[in-house]
Amino acid sequence: MTPRQRRLLGAFAVLAGVATAAAVLLSAVSENLLFFYTPSQVAAGEVPADRNVRVGGLVVSGSIERNPDSLAVRFQVTDMARVVSVSYQGILPDLFREGQGIIAQGRIDANGVLQATEVLAKHDENYMPPEVAATLAMKGEGPLAPVHMNANPADARPASTQP
């Protein structure tokens, strides 16, 4: 084997070794790299009680109840399979609205309600002019289409998404 071939082999060995180590490490700590739990994971009991956790999902259309006298707000988030109720007191991010992906951080109380101390908005990966989004929503498609739980999507009224 020439020195050059030996060096080639060595370089590949470094790459292979590091890739293997990273794969093993990442699969081992994968659980801890989750930024938030989904409502399905909450329903399955995978979320530790009495600990600060983050739960992410879409805000269910029509579920937002604001207290007119304070900043208190209650709403539900869903991953289209299960629902988690969230209670929060404070200023919500600009993007917070029905159908929006959000992440709430807090503790889940005995009634299964997430008592959130922080709510972050998770904007989606779609970028389009407002007219295009409105046209899509009229057809019941696109990011502005309403998010309903246990409802036939055909029943979704596009008008209900209008603020």
């Binding site: 050059r4 060096r7 080639l8 060595g10 370089a11 470094v14 790459l15 590091v18 890739a19 990273a22 990442l26 994968s30 790299l33 989750l34 930024f35 938030f36 739990y37 989904t38 992410g56 919500l92 991010p93 600009d94 993007l95 992440i103 922080e118 709510v119 972050l120 908005a121 998770k122 904007h123 989606d124 990966e125 779609n126 970028y127 389009m128 002019p129 407002p130 295009v132 989004a133 409105a134 990011p143 502005l144």
Partner: protein, 269 residues
């Protein structure tokens, strides 16, 4: 073979870069002059984020360049380790700070974007954390390069570091698919069509190519200077200084330039 040598040799590289650098700057400026108004004024507002989304035209190209820069560091490191090509050593040294700058830019623009949209400047989710790790990988590479006096030994050590660090690149890219993150999923590099309207996608790609051209231009200039510095004691550099093509020669007209080490001057005498 002759053409290869004409570009790959230090002298040929110097001539090649010096000849084309003006044109590259012209292309860079032209692309920015077209791209910036297109991105910041002409492109439509976003249905959800309004005008704020326009920072994407800086954020996404910066992030792409940060990934590309380190991938190139690793590729050049591989070439250095196996074939000992000097041009690869010099190019890696030239690219590293440029890539680091774009990594920092991606982090800062992302942070400024996150505050109004997400409600926070920073979260430790997988995408943001792995991109921050990438910045440290760049800084580590540069620190290691500076710590070793012998340039060839430094290039070898840095090559190994880049080969180890490159594992972060797929992690940055796939982090939004492998784990739940606050950062949204891929918009453009996904299997079905991009989730971005063409009227926004076109200026985004344009801005990417504009900033890529800028990064390439700056990197080539840096590579030229690094090679001049490395070969300061060689006759061809002394000849360039004597003719005034490179500042620092005894006959060169007075003009602002970096201070020249004494040995550079004696090389021209």
């Amino acid at each position: 073979m002759h053409l290869m040598h004409a570009i790959l040799s230090p002298k040929g590289f110097n001539r090649f870069v010096s000849r084309w650098i003006g044109a590259l700057w012209a292309v860079t400026l032209l692309m920015l002059v077209i791209g910036l108004p297109w991105a910041l004024v002409v492109a439509p507002t976003d249905y959800q984020q309004g005008e704020s989304y326009r920072i994407i035209f800086l954020h996404v190209p910066s992030a792409w360049l940060s990934l590309m820069g380190y991938t190139m560091l690793a590729g050049l490191g591989f070439v250095v380790l196996v074939w000992r090509v000097k041009l690869a050593e010099v190019m890696a040294e030239a690219i590293a700070p440029v890539g680091a700058a774009f990594t920092l830019l991606a982090l800062v623009t992302g942070s400024l974007w996150g505050r109004p949209m997400w409600g926070t400047y920073w979260v430790w989710d997988a995408r943001l954390t792995s991109e921050l790790v990438l910045l440290f990988l760049y800084l580590g590479w540069m620190a290691l390069s500076q710590a070793i006096e012998d340039r060839r030994a430094a290039a070898k050590a840095c090559g190994v570091l880049a080969l180890i660090g490159v594992v972060d690149i797929p992690i940055v890219h796939f982090s939004v698919e492998w784990w739940n993150t606050l950062h949204q999923g891929p918009t453009i590099t996904r299997l079905d069509r991009p989730a971005m309207h063409l009227s926004m996608l076109a200026p985004l790609l344009w801005m990417y190519f504009a900033l890529f051209t800028y990064a390439a231009t700056v990197s080539l200039m840096r590579a030229r200077d690094i090679w001049l510095e490395r070969e300061a004691n060689h006759p061809w550099v002394a000849e360039l200084m004597r003719t005034g093509a490179v500042p620092g020669g005894p006959d060169s007209p007075a003009r602002p330039g970096p201070p020249i080490a004494p040995r550079d001057l004696t090389a021209g005498a």
